[in-house]
Amino acid sequence: MDEIQVRGMIGELAREPMPVGRFDLVAARRRGRRRVLVRRAAGVVAGGLVFAGVAGTVVSVRGNEEGRLLFRPGPLAEAVERFDPLVEFARFGWLPERMGNLHVAVEEQIFTVAATRSGTPIDVYAGSPIEVRFLMAGPDRNPDAWKRQPNAAKYVPVKSAAGRKAFWVIPPRASRPSGLVWEYAPAEWAVLQADVAVFGHKAVLRVAESMEIGGGRRFSWPFKVGPLPKGLVPESAAFELGGRHFASELVFRGAPGAKGAVMVRAGNWIRRTGMDGLPEPTFKLDGHPAATVKNNGGRAELWVFGVQGLTVGITATRGRYPDGLRHSLWKTFVAVPGGTDEPVRSGGG
């Protein structure tokens, strides 16, 4: 078989019809933009330290190990039906030295907490050295199903799991684990990814053991909005916290499965002249520099700068929500320097 034949075969394969793609340009831009914004946030000096207290309470790492240890004998954590974007379902109890930047993302079926090194950009997509994902139960969301996949990883039982189901995960062709999985609630699994070669088995295990899970703790938010239009409910949330920098994001959606979303972001990003990312202010809104952006993805964004040290972004899907919604939500926006666990005022309609 010569090179011409190989070309022919690969060419034949390349002519095979591709399945209908699920590439999402809007999501690529949105996530890309978030990375840009977060990078900006990491590179600037905090403009208003008014919110330093909030930043410390948005998400936190306990320095002690008084949290419930997962691998000690005892009841499993209680399962929840869906992850509530206002509730901190899990938090790190212990982290290796210098892992001070925290990232949290709450989606309906996945709760993610991640940590990267302090002093590096708080960029969750730069590859988090330690990331834990809590998965809702499902037929494809357990090691038994994963083991049946082609190129499945090896699952080696964790010896010190005190009777709990927990496995080191060794990817195909790798000699060291890429992390571990454990049953954090009946039939529900958490996946911890961390470079065992860097941190060592003991530290990785300790991170898992010291996770504090459940308990209904609520996040602390640096703002309050609402009342929201009827039917709009919090759907997902994200936080980035590194040193003096923080960013928070709360996404609302109408009926389950409905298209379009409304998003409120607040953090101590500072707009820097000449940098792309945040738009240049073009007008004043209630005395604050502000800008609006309509992007190709069908979203319209309102940015307001210097709101008691916060940069505020309010985004709504065009067509699905009226243009006036962003401004009317802005009218209800109040910065809460001490933090609040009720970021949404009730009522409305």
Binding site: F23, R35, Q149
Partner: protein, 163 residues
């Protein structure tokens, strides 16, 4: 400023999507994984858009990014790549020699990822050894040896007896 960036980025990605997906598909051997690789590549491209547009050859820049995302993905636990979908996507039926295509796809899937990437770059993207070396971030000698090993693995996968 960002509006312009978004427009340029969107136009480029929309135009390049067919070949990006095709190259990713040949490397991954799986449409879903290929889409994941393209998705991550596009996100990274957005972040690096300014730098990318200043590159001498934007397509080459993006292809390098795509290959590195693919190779990087190999290092992640496979569970990170699982995506649950509620509705299976419909696909168009293949009109050619389906059996031959399935044999090649199966054989190619058995070729280790780096060697597979070398084969796709050399024989699908028609890159020279030097260009493939730049994309893969390895020496030209390594590209040659990986291509040779990849060919050998492909032959074995297809049941071709080496002379």
């Amino acid at each position: 400023m960002r509006v312009k960036r978004d427009e340029e980025f969107s136009a480029y990605v929309a135009e390049s999507l067919p070949w990006l997906r095709r190259v990713a598909y040949l490397m991954c051997g799986d449409g879903d994984r290929a889409d994941d690789v393209v998705q991550v590549t596009a996100e990274r491209l957005y972040v690096k858009w300014g730098q990318a547009t200043r590159a001498e050859n934007l397509d080459a820049y993006v292809r390098t990014m795509l290959v590195r995302v693919f190779l990087g993905e190999q290092r992640r636990g496979w569970f990170a790549r699982v995506r649950v979908v509620e509705v299976l996507p419909e696909g168009e039926a293949y009109q050619g020699d389906l059996e031959a295509v399935m044999d090649v796809r199966e054989a190619l899937a058995k070729v280790p990822a780096r060697q597979r990437a070398a084969l796709v770059l050399r024989y699908h993207c028609d890159l020279s050894v030097a260009e493939a070396a730049r994309v893969l971030g390895v020496s030209e000698g390594t590209v040659k040896s990986q291509t040779a090993r990849g060919l050998s693995a492909l032959r074995r996968g297809l049941g071709v007896v080496e002379a």
